[in-house]
């Protein structure tokens, strides 16, 4: 059995301005054809892709792409075929030279550097994983994995050791001496991944790595990548045509159309606030309960203090805030929730003691809990307590808000 997947497994706290930038594209353009600079002029005059093709016969691959990827982030570029995403990723390691713009890897501009400098960047900083695996059929799995090291001039013993370590990480150590065609598709792509890991590059470019795999294996590989990423903390640029995959993996997602970034943001930002109809059409099929977390529906943690509040003051607070229930805290500890109904009954029957009306069996969640995990918690009717790492009350989710968030904006 698969455990239910969720989009927000990795905590998305790392925004690029808080971390070191590993990859930065500054206004990258790519024109394919015989007179790229003329075409570029026309493009800057505001001519459309089709008009430029008619005038010059040149095709616009990528236009004005700028982005920053911070260390340890997964940046997903999502687009349909022909959107320029594969061209874009190949400009990051210089397999394709941009027509204009800068592509900075740490401090090296790979768009405008010597062949030697480019090779140095490829050897030490960037590894790539390919859609159809691109394993060398004449080499064993171990030799494939060690290829990047061989290019660097690492000795045979050292290569073998590192290749085995990388294969161990993807669970294929036993197949080190097999040939690629003896492995299944999923295993071959694990070898492709191990080849990327073995070179010890900090940046991993993944060009639709799971597209050629069966859906179930694809799911496994996504899980495995996230699992590995938790310990490796590589900077990953991941290309896909599948928004679902983008949402599962991406810390940030760029949606590409006709060579242009249509929208860049987190999964939540894109689903919650699509930039245009094109993005909205994609996000319509996304399961919103897996994209959004409790944090997106949480409200301020208005709570009663056991030492200060009484049943009467609690009733007054609830009426003022318009809520049916509130949490009661004792300093930092959460004692439980009190419901308006119970308090009213308690005042009527025995003069009202706040402490006696507290329900200690209350629903709890974290800020990062996806909404679909809140369904059972919301059934009790009590607000859900959002608890931070120290166990303090950080916010409250009203049950009706959980379901309200699931309605798509068009339906609302």
């Amino acid at each position: 059995m698969h455990e239910p997947f969720r989009y927000c497994r990795v905590e998305r706290s790392l925004l690029p301005n808080e971390t070191k930038i590993k990859v930065e594209a500054r206004s990258i353009f790519k024109v394919f054809g015989t007179s790229p600079h003329d075409a570029l002029q026309l493009l800057k005059q505001g001519k459309s892709k089709d008009a430029i093709f008619e005038a010059t016969g040149d095709t616009i691959g990528v236009q004005d792409a700028s982005f920053k990827v911070g260390e340890g982030q997964i940046f997903v570029v999502m687009g349909l075929s022909g959107s320029g995403k594969s061209t874009l990723v190949r400009m990051i390691n210089g397999l394709i030279a941009p027509t204009s713009g800068k592509m900075l890897i740490d401090d090296t501009d790979v768009a405008n550097c010597s062949g030697k400098a480019l090779r140095a960047v490829r050897r030490s900083k960037i590894a790539m994983v390919f859609q159809h695996f691109a394993l060398f059929p004449h080499m064993t799995v171990a030799d494939n994995v060690a290829y990047g090291l061989k290019v660097k001039g690492v000795g045979a013993d050292q290569r073998r050791k590192k290749a085995e370590a990388a294969l161990d990480q993807v669970g294929l150590k036993a197949h080190a001496d097999s040939y690629p065609d003896e492995l299944s598709g999923g295993m071959q792509q694990r070898v492709g991944l191990a080849r990327g890991l073995a070179s010890e590059a900090e940046i991993l470019l993944m060009d639709e790595p799971f597209s050629a795999l069966d859906p179930l294996i694809r799911r496994d590989m996504q899980e495995e990548l996230l699992e590995l990423q938790r310990s490796l903390k590589k900077t990953i640029i991941f290309i896909t045509h599948d928004l679902n995959e983008a949402m599962i993996l991406g810390d940030r997602i760029a949606i590409m159309k006709d060579g242009r970034f249509v929208q860049v943001g987190t999964a939540e930002e894109i689903v919650d606030n699509p930039a245009n109809d094109y993005v909205a059409a994609f996000t319509a099929d996304i399961d919103r309960s897996r994209v959004f977390t409790a944090a997106s529906v949480a409200t301020a943690a208005e709570a009663l203090e056991i030492g200060r509040d009484t049943a009467e003051s609690a009733i007054a607070r609830m009426e003022a805030l318009g809520r049916d229930a509130l949490y009661v805290i004792d300093g930092k500890a959460i004692l439980g929730a009190v419901a308006y109904r119970d308090l009213a009954a308690s005042i009527r029957d025995n003069g009202g003691a706040l402490r006696e009306a507290i329900i200690t069996d209350f629903p709890k969640a974290r800020r990062t809990t996806p909404l679909f995990e809140l369904y059972p918690l919301a059934e009790g009717g009590l607000p859900i307590a959002i608890i931070d790492r120290q166990g303090k009350l950080a916010g409250v989710v009203a049950p009706q808000d959980v379901f309200g968030k699931l309605a798509t904006p068009t339906a609302a």
Binding site: L95, R119, V121, A134, F136, Y147
Partner: protein, 306 residues
């Protein structure tokens, strides 16, 4: 009736005559003669060696090679064919022809593979090269026998030079094709890990193109064998000479014997070089495994893989 030659006649034959006789030969004869030197060395060494090795020893070694590369059937064929050649009295001629052919193919490989690699990495060079290869393949070999004799003289080595010109195109073409046909993403993968051009050629492109290159080598070898009789026209010896003298004297018997010798040699060399082009992994079997296959009642291995 009007014809274009009423206005203008082009003395092409005279031009070529004056170009070759009056300019090329007097000025460059020493240069062309010096080109013979490496060929002469290789040929003499090989010819001396092959003629010194006892017939039985050579036959067994070639049969062993055939067995390890092409299988049991070819090995048995090699034994019978070489024995037959010896029995019809053409052993020395066959060895001479073999050394000529091997020398020609060796030089074709040394010249052709680098040219093929260069053609694969430059479209412009390929465009220039293609018509030259077309001319080399289509021009009747008799046409260049005359200038070759004028520049190099007569004998074995000029015969080999004519053979090289005739047999070179396939290995160039198929090296070019083989390298160009290496999957694009494999080349990208090699590049993305920072390979130099040389590393990529050596580790990725050449091994993956090897099958196609071996097919080119096979073609080159076959063409070289087919030149044996023509090379005899300008003084090369061997089986070609047997056929050629047979032709001159209307001696059907000797011509046929020479022809049969050439055919048998061709079949042996063809089968061995063809199987060299098979993926290396399939051929890497131990001697013990091969022996086991040989003596097991059912032939497993090769037939299943083929």
């Amino acid at each position: 009736m009007f014809s274009p030659s009423d206005i203008l006649t082009i003395p092409l034959a005279d031009w070529v005559n004056s170009f070759v006789r009056d300019w090329l030969v007097p000025n460059f004869r020493p240069f062309f003669r010096s080109l013979q030197w490496p060929i002469t060395q290789v040929l003499n060494g090989l010819d001396g060696f092959l003629n010194a090795v006892p017939m039985i020893a050579f036959t067994l070694v070639l049969a062993l090679i055939a067995w390890r590369t092409a299988g049991r059937g070819v090995a048995i064929f090699t034994l019978i064919a070489l024995a037959f050649i010896d029995m019809i009295g053409l052993w020395p001629e066959t060895m001479t022809t073999l050394s000529m052919v091997v020398t020609a193919v060796l030089f074709c490989t040394v010249i052709g593979i680098p040219i093929g690699i260069a053609a694969a990495s430059s479209n412009r060079f390929q465009t220039v090269l293609r018509p030259i290869l077309d001319i080399m393949q289509t021009i009747p070999s008799f046409v260049y026998l005359v200038p070759i004799v004028m520049l190099f003289g007569v004998g074995m080595v000029p015969g080999i030079i004519a053979t090289i010109i005739f047999a070179l195109p396939p290995i160039v073409r198929l090296t070019n094709l083989g390298i160009r046909n290496v999957r694009g993403d494999l080349v990208e993968a090699a590049q993305s890990f920072g390979s130099t051009r040389w590393q990529m050629l050596w580790d990725v492109q050449f091994p993956l193109a090897l099958r196609t290159i071996m097919a080119g080598l096979n073609q080159t070898l076959m063409l070289a064998l087919s030149m044996v009789v023509i090379a005899a026209l300008i003084g090369a010896g061997g089986l070609g000479l047997t056929v050629f003298t047979g032709l001159g004297r209307l001696d059907v018997g000797n011509a046929t014997a020479g022809g049969v010798g050439i055919v048998l040699l061709a079949i042996i060399l063809d089968r061995i070089t063809q199987s060299l082009g098979e993926p290396a992994r399939m051929r890497k079997t131990s001697l013990r495994a091969t022996l086991a296959t040989l003596f097991s009642p059912k032939r497993s291995g090769r037939d299943g893989e083929a």
